[in-house]
């Protein structure tokens, strides 16, 4: 293995990033429900408590206290990294993110700041109930003052966590638990922390621009490969940072792909962040065809896997809808 690289799955990448941040930044703290001695309900924070002692600790099942104490500690100069075990649990404590963390810098005119990172994970997985399946990124994107990221690869999981911890704004990093134990990949771990933001071109082709983020990126790439195999290659832009969002990269690509844009996310469509992406393209005047928005329809999420699968966009549906878009000429 080359120096400065490790071979890890997504979960291991997050763990390595947390390890690095705790080691390099003495002002960091890491806490949340079951994150220390148990190592996290998904095992992501395993071993950190042993290495970093009382800077890593378990908390009561008290989301308001977790987030609120992170805000207070950040105001006093710490860089807390806290975990909300399921994004759905955010909803019992949104006050501390929206009314508190997001306001600190603005209302104080920059004399107070809240450089905290909230790690969470979301989305549907086999048999998950309606209260463990939601995709809530749009809530945070609709809150000025917060930064939002949704990685989908081990390298991004690592890089984004390091950037988020170094960022002076409150950052919400949303994983998808179905990614945690994916295949191991070699990732680079010795780069200096990058500025937040940016995007990746995952596939290129003139047929259309597909914009996506989070775990569904993998399905979008599969769909794009299928389209390419059928002779209609398309461009896939993955935007792991939703705030700041790489609008320029999207607009440039849409302009180069015949003004055809499809946005794909696992969240439901109405007021989803995809709607924002479509509007930005419309405002910029780069659309030449009606855009395509692919997401879960506006329903609740059922537990039975067969029912959930009927709602969550799969590779086939994505490929079919984008093939229709490409066919618009």
């Amino acid at each position: 293995m080359p120096e400065g690289t490790i071979t890890v799955n997504y979960s291991g990448a997050v763990n390595a990033a947390l390890w690095r941040c705790l080691a390099e930044l003495p002002e960091t703290l890491l806490y949340g429900e079951d994150v220390a001695k148990p190592g996290g309900v998904h095992g992501v924070t395993r071993g950190l408590w042993k290495e970093f002692g009382d800077r890593v600790f378990d908390t009561p099942i008290s989301e308001s206290a977790i987030l609120g104490s992170a805000v207070g500690a950040a105001m006093m100069g710490r860089r807390p990294i806290v975990e909300i075990m399921w994004a759905d649990f955010f909803l019992v404590a949104l006050d501390q993110m929206v009314n508190q963390a997001a306001n600190i810098r603005y209302v104080s005119g920059g004399r107070l700041t809240a450089p905290l990172v909230v790690r969470t994970q979301q989305g549907n997985s086999l048999g998950a109930c309606a209260q463990h399946s939601q995709n809530l990124e749009a809530f945070f994107c609709h809150t000025p003052g917060l930064r939002v990221a949704m990685p989908s690869t081990p390298q991004d999981a690592y890089d984004i966590m390091v950037s988020a911890v170094h960022c002076d704004d409150p950052v919400v990093v949303i994983d998808n638990r179905t990614l945690y134990f994916g295949e191991k990949q070699e990732i680079v771990t010795d780069r200096p922390p990058a500025a937040i933001g940016g995007s990746h071109v995952r596939r290129t082709g003139p047929g259309a621009t597909m914009v996506t983020w989070g775990a569904i990126t993998h399905r979008v790439i599969e769909a794009a490969d299928r389209l390419a195999a059928n002779g209609t290659p398309v461009t896939v832009i993955e935007t792991p940072w939703l705030n700041p969002f790489d609008t320029d990269a999207v607009l440039e690509s849409v302009a180069k792909t015949g003004g055809r844009l499809a946005v794909v996310h696992e969240a439901n469509t109405t007021a989803g962040f995809g709607a924002e992406v479509v509007v930005r393209a419309a405002e910029a005047g780069v659309l030449r065809q009606p855009p395509v928005r692919i997401g879960v329809p506006d329903t609740r999420i059922p537990a039975a896997p067969e029912l959930a699968a009927a709602l969550i966009p799969g590779t086939e549906r994505i490929a079919a809808e984008v093939a229709g878009l490409v066919a618009t000429g």
């Binding site: 002002e27 703290l29 800077r55 600790f57 908390t59 009561p60 008290s62 989301e63 308001s64 206290a65 977790i66 987030l67 609120g68 104490s69 992170a70 805000v71 207070g72 500690a73 950040a74 105001m75 006093m76 100069g77 710490r78 807390p80 019992v92 404590a93 006050d95 501390q96 009314n99 508190q100 306001n103 810098r105 603005y106 209302v107 104080s108 005119g109 920059g110 004399r111 107070l112 700041t113 450089p115 000025p144 003052g145 930064r147 960022c167 002076d168 704004d169």
Partner: protein
Amino acid sequence: MREQLMADLRAMWRIRAFEEKTQALCGSGDVRGSVHLCIGQEAGPVGAAEAFTDGDALFATYRGHGWAIARGVPLEPLFGELLGRASGVNGGRGGSAYLSAPEYGFLGENSIVGAGTPMAVGAALAGRHDGSSRLAAVVFGEGAMNQGAVHEAMNFAAMMALPVLFICENNRWSELTLTRDMVRNPSLTDRPKALGIPAIRIDGNDPATVRETILDFAEAAREDGGPAFVELTTQRLVGHYVGDAQQYRTREELAEDRRQEPIARAAAALAEAGVAAAEIDAVRAAAWAEVEQAAAAALAASPADVSTVREHVYA
């Protein structure tokens, strides 16, 4: 005792005059928006102030002008904030109900009931790791005792043995509703006690009692690193907000509150101790002179700077 009580009276009158002037500025339309006055509750901040040192962190509520003043925030930028002036402590971004002055250890009011409690826990947590062992104090009304965040914060502080002072100002009214009608167990201190937090209910209209109690608890919190809870019984002599007609209160209740309120009590005690009426009146006059000067200066200052309104959303 006499010297201290005179000093307390001066400090209480500064707050009272500030609040009464604010009320007048609401009436004249100079202060716009929701304003919550602490008239009648001045003994709490005045008595507690001595317990705080430079590195400590104080979080308050929207009824927090008195706590900001007690913490040392000058009156002119406070008026400036209420008036939406560039010279305000937050340049007009906070307003009456959400202002902060971190240079004075005043980490801010909060307009979400109970929300400051977990933040104070975090400030104490930071102190454990930055070597300061700072004391964090959070003030909230007794109505906030029915907020989940307060319960979570108290348990979190107890579990971690963090030096947090939970200061509950009990003015009996959860906004416009009697708190005793909103609970089955009227003893609020039973709740922190159940979480393993030492708790006491004291006369919050006597600055000396408040001072002694808060100093003791603050010292214990710093030494043992555990939280404490102090309930200050008090009353507000005015509405929940400026403009509140208070139809929910009886004349008898208000008359009794006026007998109990801290400034009247301090003045009576001083008179009994032989202080001349003129000397007591002079305290009031001096506070008003300072307040009028500060308000005039704030009124004369430039309005909040619109050209910066989009700044500081992000780093």
